[in-house]
Amino acid sequence: MSTTVETPPATTTRFGDPTKTSANARTRSMVGRIVTHVCIIIGVMFSIFPFYWLLVMSTQTTAQIFGYPPKLWFSTHLWENLNAVVHDVPLFQSLLNTFLVSLAVAVLVMFFDSLAAFAFGKYEFPGKNTLFVLLLATFLVPGSLSLVPSFVLMSWLGWTGSFAALIVPGAANAFGIFLLRQFAQTSIPNEMVESARVDGAGFFRTWWSIGVPMMRGGVAFLGIFTFITTWNDYVWPLIILVNPRRLTLQVALSQLNAIYSTNFGEVMAGAVISVVPLIGIFIIGSRHFIANIAAGAIKG
């Protein structure tokens, strides 16, 4: 679990100030800690509850789900719901597909976005501001705008039904560039870039040896975030993927909604399957969220 990679806090904070060592302050700090924990635990319960509810429903039959009063504890039908999912959709194939597509998009986004963000955040070049404003403008374009035209474009390219239609358009995005640019500006000291230049390093070397390590918290975050959003992407794959052997998980699971009847227990079991790997990946990757982004920044 991620708890093993705690880094000592970089800052003095509102509670538990180590410079005050009087007994009074210690008591206050104790109370502060308890209050903090209680607040956080309440928050965590709200955060976790719907997920718990999903798990509970995945173990129930459809009739139990719609029963009154609601049953708060697990039932015994998980296995049969899971079996129904495996029987009705090509689950393992689409799990693998989804994993590969999400990984490809995440890696490409981390690469291209960090390059662009480094250039935007730490360098001056003619036309930079115009380009950046353009980039922000694209950020505001509603994604739903282009569903139909994109489908037409993909059929011209011959990408209908192929994963290229999912991977290539998303290989770089305004969101990530904007996010990483903020990281670049706040966590890479100008002096370091300057001294790299004095040492004769070019742009790409500086990006690789200074930019990437200094932005790594942001880059890792972006990678995981991209992976997750790609994994959960629904409307576009639903439109573009027509080959039943090449489906992503969300699209495969959408087929559980039969036209005349829906087995809710099965749908919930499917949802659990689509969520569990993501949580695993998130937990493995979560230490990157902790990574002290300002680590290595010039001190004094």
């Binding site: 039959t61 459809t62 009739a63 719609f66 029963g67 009154y68 009705d88 139909v148 489908f151 037409v152 059929s155 011209w156 390219l157 011959g158 990408w159 209908t160 039904g161 290229a164 290539v168 390093a201 070019g202 742009f203 790409f204 070397r205 990006w207 690789w208 639903l238 439109i239 027509v242 080959n243 039943p244 699209v251 495969a252 959408s254 087929q255 559980l256 909604n257 039969a258 036209i259 005349y260 009847s261 829906t262 087995n263 809710f264």
Partner: protein, 427 residues
């Protein structure tokens, strides 16, 4: 610097290769399958019997072709339309749900089945179902799959408790008209506090489904503004039902399921296929439900069609598949396997259909719905009905938000006409 340039070169080369690959793949195929002997059909889960599909996957009887069946999940219409519009990845055969009229404006996208000899099969199917597949220009392009004759489902135990007629015969006799239906509902409400149906919108819709006249005539002329019209009658009935308090204002499916399970809502007018949903969502109520004739006459709700897109690589073989799939024996089998209610009347006389599940006690749902199917009036569903959804929205506003019924009606007419004018219809 050498490192970064090299990686840059590699990256650029990669991008270039990608772009070249994309361009060379230009000019995609119209058909999904490149195998000349393989026909592809699009359908959704539980709309074709898998056992029949696996026979056709080896060989479509009477042809040299075989069939690949692709399950298409949600957004079926969107996918089909975008494929047809983009002229790429079009299946050789496709199912279409009860909303076939949506495709009437672009009917040329589908083959006229009469040219393939469909008239020879017409006598096998219910007339009203066959007619729903005929376009306003009198081309038969959509072949009958299953049907959805309707009836009044009700909880006998709750009706008993309310001390009102509770056996199918006397319930049917007690509600020969919609006024009687509402009166019966008031008794039910007064005595045990249960509702006759989930929403007024449901009653409104089923009233129309059981009427020969609907929103538009075949020429696309709106009928709802006439002095007397089905839509106005259905509206008045629904408003009366709301005022009488016999509908439950349960607008979301999860609430509806819970209401039927608990008996808070003790009835529902819906098609034969609803029995399956009911069995899945409220299995504990098994044996408590019965079926009675709904007021006036039975209608049709749902039921799908199969058709052949104009790009089909072998229309004869595709048509052979359609007629084989829908012969009375196979429709009877599809009923036994996945409860698709036949559109071929002979299916019922074969004696192979398994009927009673015990869900309706000793009542045989098959006999009930066969009688209902024979009563369904022939009607015409216009392509513009999708634009007339405001009537359903507004009756919901009356029920859920307490909107004034007269204002709601005027708003529904005004909004529908506005949209129709936008679509170039003279109103």
């Amino acid at each position: 610097m050498a490192f970064s340039r090299r990686s840059l070169l590699a990256g650029t080369a990669g991008l270039g290769a990608l772009a070249a690959g994309g361009l060379s793949a230009c000019g995609s195929r119209t058909s999904i399958s490149s195998d000349p002997n393989e026909l592809v059909i699009w359908y959704w889960d539980r709309s074709i019997d898998p056992a029949l599909l696996s026979i056709a996957a080896k060989q479509i009887p009477g042809t040299q072709r075989h069939l690949r069946a692709d399950i298409i999940g949600g957004s079926f219409d969107t996918k089909l339309r975008t494929s047809l519009a983009g002229n790429a990845y079009i299946p050789d055969l496709t199912n279409i749900n009860s909303n076939v009229s949506l495709y009437f404006p672009n009917e040329d996208m589908f083959l006229d089945l009469d040219e393939l000899g469909a008239q020879n099969y017409k006598h096998l199917y219910f007339d009203w179902k066959w007619e729903l597949g005929v376009t306003p220009t009198n081309h038969f392009r959509f072949f009958p799959l299953d049907t959805g004759p309707t009836g009044f489902y009700y909880r006998q135990d709750v009706f008993d408790k309310a001390k009102i007629p509770s056996d199918p015969e006397s319930v049917g006799a007690a509600m020969k008209t919609w006024d009687e239906f509402i009166e019966l509902g008031q008794k039910l409400k007064r005595n045990v506090g249960s509702f006759m149906d989930i929403t007024a919108g449901q009653l409104f819709g089923q009233y129309i489904n059981a009427s020969p006249q609907r929103y538009f005539d075949k020429a696309g002329k709106p009928l709802y503004m006439n002095q007397t019209s089905t839509i106005r009658d259905a509206w008045n009935m629904a408003v009366k039902a709301i005022k009488a308090g016999i509908t439950g204002n349960q607008q979301v499916s999860t609430d509806q399921n819970a209401a039927w399970e608990s008996g808070k809502t003790a009835g529902h007018i819906e098609a034969v296929w609803w029995a399956q949903i009911l069995g899945d969502t409220a299995p504990d109520t098994k044996g408590k439900w019965r079926l009675a004739k709904q007021p006036v006459r039975a209608g049709n709700s749902g039921g799908s069609f199969i058709c052949i897109p104009h790009t089909c690589k072998d229309p004869e073989a595709a048509f052979k598949f359609i007629t084989w799939l829908n012969n009375p024996q196979n429709q009877a089998q599809a009923f036994n396997n996945i409860q698709l209610f036949p559109s071929a009347e002979d299916s019922f006389t074969l004696g192979t259909m398994k009927s009673n599940t015990g869900f309706f006690g000793d009542q045989d749902p098959l006999t009930f719905f066969l009688e209902a199917a024979k009563e369904v009036p022939t009607s015409f569903i216009s392509t513009y009905e999708a634009q007339a959804a405001f009537f359903g929205t507004e009756i919901t506003n009356v029920e859920a938000a307490g909107k004034n019924p007269d204002r709601a009606w005027d708003d529904a007419v005004a909004q529908t006409n506005k949209i129709l004018r936008k679509r170039g219809v003279n109103v």
